[in-house]
């Protein structure tokens, strides 16, 4: 499992968010490994409003659909269109090319440091 980048923040629902403006959101390596081979991802459209802690999309893997939870309240300004044809990128590069959406943040929800998230999940730290 990939080490957790220290420059990101994390949620208990296994999403990450960076400090950019707009901010990039994805799922962690912990989640990507636990989901298995991702075959489909449903994401909001550009312009959609997200609410911190609320569902903003879904991923499908190994015959199971799982929900994605937004770490922020804000507006989607970009969606990773490449995932439509290559959802497996989330597995292979969850902290990089497998990003999900970029968001103009109104409010940041509850987040964790890499160390706190590693403690929560029992995974490797940064």
């Amino acid at each position: 499992m990939a080490a957790l980048p220290e420059d990101l923040q994390y949620t208990a629902e296994h999403e990450w968010i960076d400090s950019g403006s707009p901010a990039t959101v994805g799922i962690t390596s912990v989640a990507a490994e636990a989901l298995g081979d991702i075959v489909f991802v449903e994401l909001p459209e550009v312009g959609a409003s997200l609410t911190a802690g609320a569902v903003f999309g879904e991923v499908e893997s190994v015959k199971s659909v799982s929900e994605l939870f937004s770490p922020v309240t804000g507006t989607v300004v970009e969606v990773n269109a490449a995932l439509a044809d290559a959802p497996e990128t989330i597995n292979s590069d969850p902290f990089g090319e497998g990003w999900l959406v970029r968001v103009e943040i109104d409010t940041l929800g509850p987040v964790l440091t890499a160390e706190e998230y590693a403690a929560l999940t029992g995974g490797p730290g940064a």
């Binding site: 298995g36 489909f40 893997s61 015959k63 929560l120």
Partner: protein
């Protein structure tokens, strides 16, 4: 974990009504108002399709299909098929792969009891009898919402597998469906295997649950 059979052997459950029941139980498990629950039942005949189902996989004769929010593509449910819907809170961090494998383990355990050499197939979920053609004995399609599961596993016990010939089951061309009855050469219906299957489900699922209860493995009648 509470195992509830919905009039198994005497009533065929309407799919959409049962789906609504799943949603109600899911909300109650999520709120901590009821224990982990597994529904065991037979459906009235119906095709259901996950959102990735291709148009070409659907019945060519216009037979109605219920579009559902589980994983997987298209399948059939109906008389003679034992369906299990575990609505359970998974241990954190949720491991979806392990959960699906646990459902497969329950079917494989029952297969072992019956002397059937069921197998997993790399890159697919469910339980198979190797071919050619590969024959599917049990199909799996789940949903995990806020750490609590829905939908589950469908085991072909004594069903007429001809219903699967009108679709591309699970979107996998060149595969067929089989049943316990076909494999054993004698009638094996859902009521014949429900208690053994319930016990295997309890054994395989318990390590993956946030909380485990110590109730008896036999299915509760409802």
């Amino acid at each position: 974990m509470e195992l509830i059979t919905l009039d198994l052997g005497t009533r065929l459950c309407d799919y959409e009504q049962t789906w609504e029941l799943q949603r109600q139980i899911h909300a109650e498990v999520l709120a901590g108002e009821r224990p982990d629950t597994v529904l065991l039942l037979e459906h009235a005949p119906v095709y259901t399709a996950g959102r990735r189902t291709n148009r070409a996989d659907r019945p060519v004769d216009g037979t109605p299909v219920v579009d559902v929010d589980r994983g997987g593509k298209i399948t059939w449910h109906g008389p003679g098929q034992l369906v299990a819907y575990p609505i359970v809170r998974l241990r954190e961090p949720v491991d979806v792969v392990a959960y699906v494998r646990a459902l497969e383990d329950a079917v494989l355990g029952l297969c072992a009891d019956l002397g059937i050499a069921g197998e997993r197939v790399e890159g697919r979920s469910g339980v198979w009898l190797p071919g050619p053609p590969d024959a599917k004995l049990a199909a799996i399609g789940c949903r995990v919402a806020k750490g609590v599961t829905m939908h589950g596993v469908a085991l072909n016990a004594s069903c007429d597998t001809g219903a699967f010939t009108r679709i591309v089951p699970c979107g996998l061309p060149g595969t067929v469906a089989t049943s316990l009855t076909s494999l054993l050469g004698r009638h094996v219906g859902p009521t014949d295997v429900v208690d053994a299957f319930a016990a295997h489900l309890r054994t395989s699922l318990t390590p993956h649950l946030a909380a485990a209860s110590g109730a008896s493995p036999a299915a509760v009648r409802a």
